[in-house]
Symmetry: C2
Amino acid sequence: MNRDKGTLYLLPVPLSDGAPFDACITAGEVDVLRRLRYFIVENVRSARRFLRKADPAFPIDESEFVVLDEHTSPADVPAMIRPLSQGKDIGVISEAGCPAVADPGADAVAAAQRQGFRVVPLTGPSSLLMALMASGFNGQSFAFAGYLPVEGGARQRRLREMETRVRREGQTQIFIETPYRNNRLIAELCRVLPGTMLLCVASDITGPRESIITRPVSEWAVAEYNYDKVPTIFLLHG
Amino acid sequence: MNRDKGTLYLLPVPLSDGAPFDACITAGEVDVLRRLRYFIVENVRSARRFLRKADPAFPIDESEFVVLDEHTSPADVPAMIRPLSQGKDIGVISEAGCPAVADPGADAVAAAQRQGFRVVPLTGPSSLLMALMASGFNGQSFAFAGYLPVEGGARQRRLREMETRVRREGQTQIFIETPYRNNRLIAELCRVLPGTMLLCVASDITGPRESIITRPVSEWAVAEYNYDKVPTIFLLHG
């Protein structure tokens, strides 16, 4: 129906300011974004900075930016993608990494899919996937669970359930934590999980302090580490 | 312990021959691979072709290639990563996309992690992740289940279980099928799943016939499509 109108391009950005730009972004993405003048972004300032870094001559002042973040009402999303029906392409840019995975950009994608527009994802850095690659864990079966619940009872139930899915299904479990609680989470995992279970801690991926380490929980319990305030992915496997 | 010795680099390759190279591979990856002379590869011919495409001057004849594929005995993997202990870096290359996710490269990563070597994943195309980005589905909670079981009873149980996890947990379900069975799988999904469930079919990602379409099962049931023999990812959400 609308596949011959505008296209919604999903434009990955580096995972952090410390990551070398040309290790994260392909030349093909830069070619695509040069042609775009309309953007749906999680944060205007960081999106402008990204575009300027991708192409110092990018005509930012001739471009339009609309914000889609966690405060946006879902009712406002269909209007954001209206340029597509006029044949104009749109770029979606999130704060870090690949847009529309675990961020509000997914609402724009869902709206575009509902109306039958073409959606094109571009290659870029995904901390989840890169953590999985480097963990050595089973990539035939894995699940990402987002943030662990904060509340004690729900949190314990989630941890038990993850342990069960590792053991019964061989399913790698991937999750994240608010970065200032990273160290406490590792200590907690060492208390509640069996010592033989493997825990991978993947931190500052692509950044200057990148560290991706897999060891048994029993070794983490006596290891020295400090992941305080560093974006980190946690993975469990049997 | 061994973090100051050699590094195991995970080198993504394009998802298909039809994908434009510079839309899949970063300049940073090309810089890294130029320095490597030892490779663990799923297929020697395609790995050589990739290196030659990345850098026509790459000294392939001065490089060593060892094969790690589905026929490799796990007992042979530790010897493959021995160059790391001599301070030599190794590149891991699979047949398509990101190595060590759902392919034998994961065994080399696991061995390197067990011995405490540094493992560095590079940015590249992942058909799973790009399908998820473009589906519009929940990226806060998703699971990849690999291939559906072939045997009838196990297959039905798996489909029921996926349906339950979509409904109860809001967990996006991602799976694949042998490409010559793609069309039959869609017909099967239309028979067994509720018509209101959303099915995304993401086909030939980054390739010339790329098509990523999300619609309710009831619409797929009457849609025209032909994904025969084209690599395709399937995703379900509520």
